[in-house]
Amino acid sequence: MGSDVSGATSTEATTAPSGALLEVTDLVKHFPIKSGLLFDREVDQVRAVDGISFSVDKGETLGLVGESGSGKSTACRAVLQLLKPTSGSVKFEGQEIAGLGRRELRPLRREMQMIFQDPYASLNPRKRVGQIVGDQLKIQKVASGGELRKRVEGLLDRVGLSPEHYNRFPHEFSGGQRQRIGIARALALEPKLVICDEPVSALDVSIQAQIVNLLDDLQDELRLTYVFVAHDIGVVRHISDRIAVMNQGKIVETGPADQVCEHPRDAYTKKLLAAVPIADPRESAARRAERTAAG
């Protein structure tokens, strides 16, 4: 309802061309704080996501950046309906998905997938790689038997793993390899939208680049649309077309990646930029001084 209007008025930069793949409007997710001597009453709320709006075009990468606790992860989950939003609208290919039931969501699940932050917690330790990647093909009744195996092996190959890994367990892999498994899982159904929730923040710096590059390659190859979430604005800048900066549940600034990074308007964005490590020690020292002055 009136998404056009609100979309247009809230932030001019998000006024994306019609035919946006994902359109999020006034999305709110509050967690109640309950207390009371005898019975729990809701005494307050944590406003994890406090009315955000953005949209993502086909083939585009939107970077969502903010500090820990700014509500990025909650926003991702609310968009994917892994958490029920308190209010607001989420449109996927023009279809309202907020408030849909599990069964109604199931066909849509094929279209939007998520890559999780923690490659250790996001893979079921008791399942083999083949199952982890292939199960959804079964759930969505896309493939089974030998065909399923073939597809999974193909996927493993595509993300840079060996097909022999099919029967291995997650604990036999390193963090980077695990994240590749997570990516293979997300791509198994050839989704249109992939939400990457800090996919590299738990990894060593050297491996981070490999994964980011992999994601980049895959995007080109499969014409994927990404929402890329990170707390490190440097990583986000590298991969994103546009950037939205989140602080305390709200989007404080959005715009094309370079614009946001070169000419930040919001004080918070500036602060984030100041935190990006710089290779040159001198510059880094200067930045630090800047930061303390700002703080």
Binding site: L82, Y120, S122, F169
Partner: protein, 378 residues
């Protein structure tokens, strides 16, 4: 542990996940440690690893061997009874005499004292002597009694496991009202002195048997003590399971499954349940041990296996009536229980070390299932 603090704990983690940095979820790091410890590139699945560890534990394997040997012996009870002793477990020989190498011995003296162990002197008859006034063959009764004890121990453990998994999953996974109802019901049984509950049920059912709908159980049925024991221990297993499920529910791989469109039953049984298996297996073995001890207590108090069926518990209780004149009648079945339970416990210990060397469940499993309420206060 009180369920409340568990619940509040779950709520806090849920919030932390959302509000605080999702970067360092406690779950993730825990798994990392496990991995680091077990050697990141260890080959094979979790079961293969566990099996390799278990295979090195000779003591535990020996215990398993002892247990299996006992099981096999008890299964062979009819063979011994028919081929060697030539008598049944409930056949009385009050007035019979034993002709043994020219010597004639009375199976039961007029004073009621029974014949002692003959070993092979009488061709295997009365191998361990007779059981008191009735002159039943102690060895035959021991073997048949072992069947009852093992049946109760194992089947009750199966019942407990099924109930606990179902309740634990429903309660831990669905939360809300389901959780409240199940948790409160568990609280009640938890606060009920276990032996008291079991005995109360046992005594009441010993009179009339059980008739619920199509189920008719005679009062002498082995199923009555089995069911009682199975039900009574359920909360001790369901609670720790629920706790674990609550922790798993917050793990990202569950979200991943949801994101793939998996339904609740798929998540419960295919995603969560496999992760509970090692806990369940550990509980299961400990349950067998504890069930056999509880069976003994119940039978001793007249609320367990009903005579003339014998179990090791009833045999101790019968032997106890002749403790001063024939202490062997108490010592023999007691030793049988001790050996069996000890072998299960030793094996269970090894199994736990093999399956989950770092697991916190180690303590919970013990505290929960062998909660002294159950076997201690007796």
């Amino acid at each position: 542990m009180p369920s409340e603090s568990e619940k509040s704990g779950a709520e806090t983690t849920a919030l932390e996940g959302a509000v605080v940095s999702p970067g360092t979820g406690p779950g993730g790091s825990e798994f990392a440690i496990v991995e680091a410890d077990s050697g990141a590139r260890q080959g094979g699945g979790p079961w293969a690893i566990a099996w390799r560890r278990l295979r090195r534990n000779h003591f535990a394997l020996f215990a398993l061997g002892v247990f299996l040997l006992i099981v096999v012996c008890c299964l062979l009870a009819p063979v011994w009874a028919n081929q060697v002793a030539h008598t049944g477990p409930n056949q009385t020989h009050t007035l019979e005499k034993l002709h043994e190498g020219g010597e004639v011995k009375e199976v039961v003296e007029p004073s009621g004292k029974a014949i002692g162990p003959q070993f092979f002197a009488a061709g295997g008859k009365f191998f361990l002597g007779a059981d008191g006034h009735l002159g039943r063959d102690e060895m035959v009764r021991l073997l048949y009694g072992g069947r009852s004890s093992l049946f109760i121990g194992i089947v009750a453990a199966i019942i407990t496991t099924i109930l606990a998994v179902v309740f634990g999953l429903l309660s831990g996974f669905y939360g809300g009202w389901t959780d409240t109802v199940i948790s409160r019901a568990m609280d009640v049984i938890w606060a009920f002195p276990v032996v008291l509950l079991a005995i109360a049920l046992g005594i009441v059912l010993a009179v009339g048997g059980l008739e619920i709908g199509p189920i008719h159980l005679k009062s002498s049925s082995l199923w009555i003590p089995t069911l009682i024991i199975g039900i009574v221990y359920t909360p001790y297993m369901a609670r720790p399971l629920r706790g674990e499920i609550l922790a798993f529910r917050e793990k990202e791989f569950i979200e991943a499954a949801v994101a793939q469109g998996a339904g609740p039953s798929r998540i419960m049984f295919l995603e969560i349940l496999p992760n509970l298996m090692s806990t369940i297996i550990v509980f299961f073995t400990l349950n067998i041990a504890n069930n056999m001890l509880l069976e003994a207590v119940l039978s001793y108090l007249g609320a367990g296996v009903q005579p003339p069926s014998s179990s090791w518990g009833t045999m101790i209780s019968e032997g106890f009536e002749a403790l001063y004149s024939q202490p062997l009648l108490t010592i023999i079945p007691g030793t049988a229980i001790l050996l069996t339970v000890l072998s299960v416990n030793v094996f269970g210990d090894g199994l736990r070390d093999a399956l989950d060397p770092k697991s916190k469940v180690r303590f919970e499993a013990r505290a929960g299932s062998s909660d002294p309420e159950a076997i201690g206060p007796v």
